[in-house]
């Protein structure tokens, strides 16, 4: 077994029940679609069933023992999330359904309040649709404009171009992803935040692809908003996180109205609850938030520096082996330090959907298509790419099987 030096992949794999299953044809599952969603360790699955089996109840209101236990567990996860990204306070952590909802919350409750016809929002060409469409909707609603920062080769941005673009009195918000879900490019968000702040422009970071894979510190970055989701970091689906600075959250109006987000309700008026509850109307996804807590514990135990090191090693190995294939086009940075564990590519003129179907016969789960980034696809002048993305349980042995499968696809298509 080709070992990674930082974490024990074989041991980790034992913690993931799904990795033990066999697919059609008796194949082992080789799961390389981690940028879409990750698998869940037993600890996460168990913590969810433990909640339902032992202390299921609604939170915050009731005084009975179950409610007390559930409330404590739910709020404990909020503290763990705050610690994970080094937020000043757990009050700055809002639970949503997913990263998409977190970005929409900022568009509806912050941008809608601050934008006028004269204003602009700035994003980049590498954004996921979740960091494009909410801005199209809100700028469309108020008649403001949506501007794009062009990307260069390998998905990089030109920092000079950025500092020129933020030097615009009409610019009200910058929203960019820290890591591209297609190219894996890591953007210099700290530097960009500093430049934006020099012009008093707030910064939102879509961290859906970065928080799961590296140490992210919101105080160090000094960003104003950050969105990410639990399911891309071993947690369950249905839990997203919005971080925002307290003073900003305090002046924002609520997102949706209902129970739990109120202080007092009268026939015509309502006073709203304190942070973070102002933004969490209705019964939240208690079980899955608790499950997310177990995922954070699991990742902390491995250590984010070790995870990043492991991913860089496997990505470097994969890039090296994939470059041996004739007719392959690999998109994104060549240097692993500047990229996450995501590799998009095309093999000759084989359509990515056909390639993914062939790889499926080897037990390989790989993504094909536009990856919710059609603006980027236009920029790359392709209609689709194939994409492999790695996480803590992927091994170099699996990369070898991927290469064999790609070779066999080449033969099948006569390349």
């Amino acid at each position: 077994m080709l070992q990674s030096t930082t974490i024990d992949v074989e041991k980790i794999r034992e913690d993931f029940p799904i990795l033990q299953r066999r697919l059609k044809g008796g194949h082992k599952l080789i799961y390389l679609d981690n940028a879409a969603t990750t698998q869940k360790p037993r600890a996460v699955i168990d913590s969810i069933s433990n909640y339902y089996m032992n202390y299921n109840s609604n939170i915050h209101r009731a005084v009975h023992q179950l409610a007390e236990e559930a409330t404590f567990a739910y709020e404990e996860v909020r503290r763990r999330v705050a610690k994970l990204i080094n937020a000043k306070s757990a009050d700055e952590i809002i639970f949503t359904r997913n990263a998409t909802e977190s970005i929409n919350l900022v568009a509806k409750c912050w941008a809608r309040q601050h934008l006028t016809k004269m204003n602009r929002v700035l994003i980049t060409e590498i954004e996921h649709h979740s960091n494009i469409v909410p801005w199209q909707l809100v700028t469309g609603e108020v008649g403001a404009s949506l501007d794009y920062l062009n990307i260069g080769e390998e998905g990089r941005i030109d920092i000079e171009d950025f500092s020129q673009k933020v030097n615009d009195p009409d610019l009200k918000l910058v929203s960019i992803s820290q890591m591209s879900n297609v190219l894996g490019t890591i953007l210099p968000v700290k530097k960009m935040t500093k430049l934006a702040h020099e012009k008093n422009v707030p910064m939102m970071i879509d961290a859906a692809q970065s928080v799961p894979h590296m140490k992210v510190d919101v105080q160090d970055l000094n960003c104003d908003f950050m969105a990410f989701s639990a399911h891309k970091m071993l947690g369950p689906t249905g839990v997203g996180i919005l971080y925002a600075k307290r003073e900003i959250l305090e002046e924002m109006p609520p997102f949706i109205g209902g129970g739990d987000m109120i202080k007092e309700v009268h026939k015509q008026t309502t006073s709203f609850n304190d942070l973070p509850y102002k933004f969490e109307a209705g019964t939240p996804n208690i079980a899955d938030v608790i499950g997310f807590g177990a995922a954070i514990d699991y990742l902390n135990k491995l250590g984010f520096e070790n995870i990043r090191e492991h991913e860089m090693q496997i990505t470097e190995y994969a890039l090296e082996r994939m470059n041996e294939l004739q007719g392959i086009t690999i998109y994104g940075p060549k240097v692993t330090k500047e990229r996450g564990a995501v590799i998009s590519f095309n093999l000759g003129d084989i359509h990515p959907h056909d390639l993914a179907t062939i790889l499926n016969d080897f037990g390989i789960a790989m993504r094909s298509g536009h990856h919710c980034a059609q603006v980027l696809m236009e920029r790359l002048e392709v209609s689709a790419t194939s994409r492999v993305s790695f996480y803590v349980y992927n091994s170099k042995d699996e990369v070898n099987i991927l290469i064999d499968a790609l070779q066999s696809a080449r033969r099948l298509f006569g390349l």
């Binding site: 359509h351 990515p352 959907h353 056909d354 179907t357 209609s383």
Partner: protein, 98 residues
């Protein structure tokens, strides 16, 4: 698609995509050539899947196989929309993927 007296006299397609979508589009044009619109209305997804010999496509790839049928059916919905709304509705319902 060129229609004369309810009969498809000519049909061509332009496309770029995966092997399944391109092959099924090509085979669909052959299937409907010289057929009446009335009979094309009855074409359903099983006819296409049987014709291309892929009966076990999953929910993602079935879209590839049925893309051209969907385009054909939607153009018929448009064609019937004003002159025969009932048929238009029937065709629309019949072209649902899942």
């Amino acid at each position: 698609m060129k229609v004369e007296d309810n009969i498809v006299k000519d049909i061509k397609f332009e496309g770029r995509g995966c092997a399944i979508s391109q092959a099924s589009a090509s085979m669909l044009t052959e299937m409907v050539m010289n057929k009446s619109l009335t009979s094309i209305k009855e074409l359903d997804k099983d006819d296409i899947l049987e014709n291309i010999g892929l009966l076990n496509l999953g929910p993602a790839r079935i879209k590839c196989a049925l893309l051209s049928l969907k385009v054909l059916k939607m153009s018929m919905v448009e064609y019937y929309a004003s002159k025969d709304p009932e048929s238009a509705q029937e065709i629309r319902e019949g072209s649902r993927l899942y």
